[in-house]
């Protein structure tokens, strides 16, 4: 049996790749749109995770002030463009997403035991897909981003008094959203296959390194649900941006819990 889509399977095998296609496409469209806006990405102590860390930008969260003078005039500027390539690269080269988008976007194969549209196959054995081996370098950057986002969640617990400017501890719905986002991204990043390897998986005798063994076991535990972490963190980060954006636009009100 050959020819694209041919199979003896009589279940609805195309539903899963279709859902993955729709899920990833909707994220890509939203993230691109949100990253290009360059406004409504911060309100009060909240900063959208798509814009964190804000290296240059107009919000009070910016590290080095507004848009730099050396930025080419022809290019649109958004603080998100300076940083989003790193977490984007992490997801693009992630082992889970690779398997998912090879099926959903490239039909290679469309599903298990279903025929493909192409006769030739190179896999990740030659250029360009051999470049997927760069994944661990994106992981290093992603780990740094998790700490930035955790710091953002901490900062989201300190609200400035509008009259005195004094910072007081508090929790709003936005605090919970940003904390949940950092937690989900942490679960995804520290359950990454490369992280699991680099933290101890490369060794055959972990019994001699008890701390490393514990870390390896923790990473393995997260790794068992890596797909779930990948999806929840993907939609978590999208929702966190949407929340901050709508609050900043005045469409949603951020409720203070205490």
């Amino acid at each position: 049996m050959s020819g694209f889509g041919n199979t003896s399977r009589n279940d609805i095998w195309w539903v899963r790749p279709l859902l993955v296609f729709l899920g990833l496409s909707s994220f890509i469209v939203y993230a691109t749109w949100a990253a290009l806006q360059g406004e409504h990405y911060a309100i009060g102590p909240y900063l959208s995770p798509f814009y964190s860390p804000e290296i240059f930008g107009s919000s009070p969260h910016s590290w080095f002030g507004p848009k730099p003078s050396w930025w080419p005039m022809v290019l649109p500027f958004s603080p998100a463009m300076l940083i989003l390539w790193a977490p984007g690269g992490m997801r693009f080269t992630c082992y889970y997403y690779r398997g998912a988008y090879y099926k959903s976007f490239w039909a290679d194969p469309p599903a298990c035991a279903v025929s493909e549209p192409r006769k030739t196959y190179l896999g990740e054995n030659s250029f360009p897909l051999i470049m997927q081996n760069i994944h661990r370098y994106f992981l290093y950057l992603a780990v740094i981003f998790v700490f930035f986002l955790a710091h953002d969640a901490w900062k989201a617990m300190w609200f400035a008094d509008p009259l005195t400017g004094e910072q007081t501890f508090g929790v709003g719905v936005g605090t919970l959203v940003l904390t949940l986002n950092a937690t989900l991204l942490g679960g995804y990043t520290f359950g990454c296959h490369s992280f699991r390897h680099l933290i101890g998986g490369f060794k055959d005798r972990l019994s001699k390194s008890p701390v490393q063994r514990k870390l390896y076991n923790c990473a393995s535990c997260l790794n068992r649900r890596h797909m779930n972490w990948a999806w929840f963190s993907l939609f978590g980060v999208m929702f966190a941006d949407l929340y901050v954006r709508l609050c900043s636009m005045g469409i949603w009100t951020d409720w203070r819990i205490f």
Binding site: M1, K103, G123, N133, H135, H193, F202, S207
Partner: protein
């Protein structure tokens, strides 16, 4: 008792075709029981390989309704009611007759994997010491029954027939069992990259899905091996680390 129609692949001089057989199904039957019943009642010359009927010998691999499965572990009660059941041989291997395939390519590939090479004995009496926590990881791989369902579902072998370039999931599991063994000192990463073509795996996880022993082939064997290959061949920082740690 219910009558169920089975469309079974039968070889003939021009290749083969599905032939329909109807047989009675009773409670507790598995697909292999039904095939045996058809063999007894309607088709004495139907070829089917089987042995233990307990999911441990890995002989009765076939494709049931398009899913690579063991016939002895597939319950008739799990089949869609009122619909015919299709049974065909594994697509990734040449068919010998009816449901029987020639899986000998797997034995040739297995022979090409570097053998277990233990370090020098730990004790003067020539014995070794191992911690259970170190051996836990490779024990999962020892569950493999060599049914070759993972090889069958792997699209690199099934669709592209790259048997000479890619060893396949079963042999990645075998490689992992040796490579991650706490006593083994052999280096198989060069072979994994070149002769066994680990780069051909694009992580679809189909092998994991069909494994009747629930071995996490992709997450625990193939990806860790890919990472070891990346350590050695694709990571310049790791290369520097190795130079300075010598």
């Amino acid at each position: 008792m219910a009558k169920v129609v089975f469309n079974i692949w039968r070889t003939n001089p021009s290749g083969g075709e599905f032939r329909a057989y109807e047989t009675d199904i009773t409670e507790g039957m598995v697909v292999l029981d039904a095939v045996h019943q058809i063999q007894a009642e309607h088709a004495n010359d139907l070829a089917v390989r089987w042995n233990c009927k307990a999911g441990k010998c890995g002989s009765c691999s076939a494709e049931i309704n398009g899913h690579p499965k063991l016939m002895c572990m597939t319950r008739m009660s799990d089949m869609p009611e009122g619909k015919p059941v299709s049974i065909q041989p594994m697509k990734a291997f040449p068919v010998i007759k009816d449901l029987v395939t020639d899986v000998s390519v797997n034995y040739r590939v297995k022979k090409s994997i570097k053998k277990f090479k233990p370090r020098s004995p730990d004790a003067p009496d020539g014995t070794w010491r191992m911690a259970q926590v170190d051996i836990d990881r490779v024990q999962e791989f020892r569950k493999c029954i060599e049914c070759f369902l993972c090889q069958d579902v792997c699209h690199v072998l099934r669709e592209h027939a790259l048997h000479d370039k890619f060893a396949g999931p079963r042999h990645m599991v075998y490689n992992a069992a040796l490579e991650m063994h706490p006593l083994d000192i052999e280096d198989r990463t060069g072979d994994l990259k070149n002769a066994h073509g680990i780069g051909f795996c694009n992580i679809t996880k189909c092998c994991t899905t069909v494994c009747p022993e629930n071995i996490h082939i992709t997450d625990n064997a193939i990806i860790p091996l890919k990472e070891r290959v990346a350590d050695k061949f694709y990571d310049p920082l790791m290369k520097l680390f190795r130079i300075f740690s010598k």
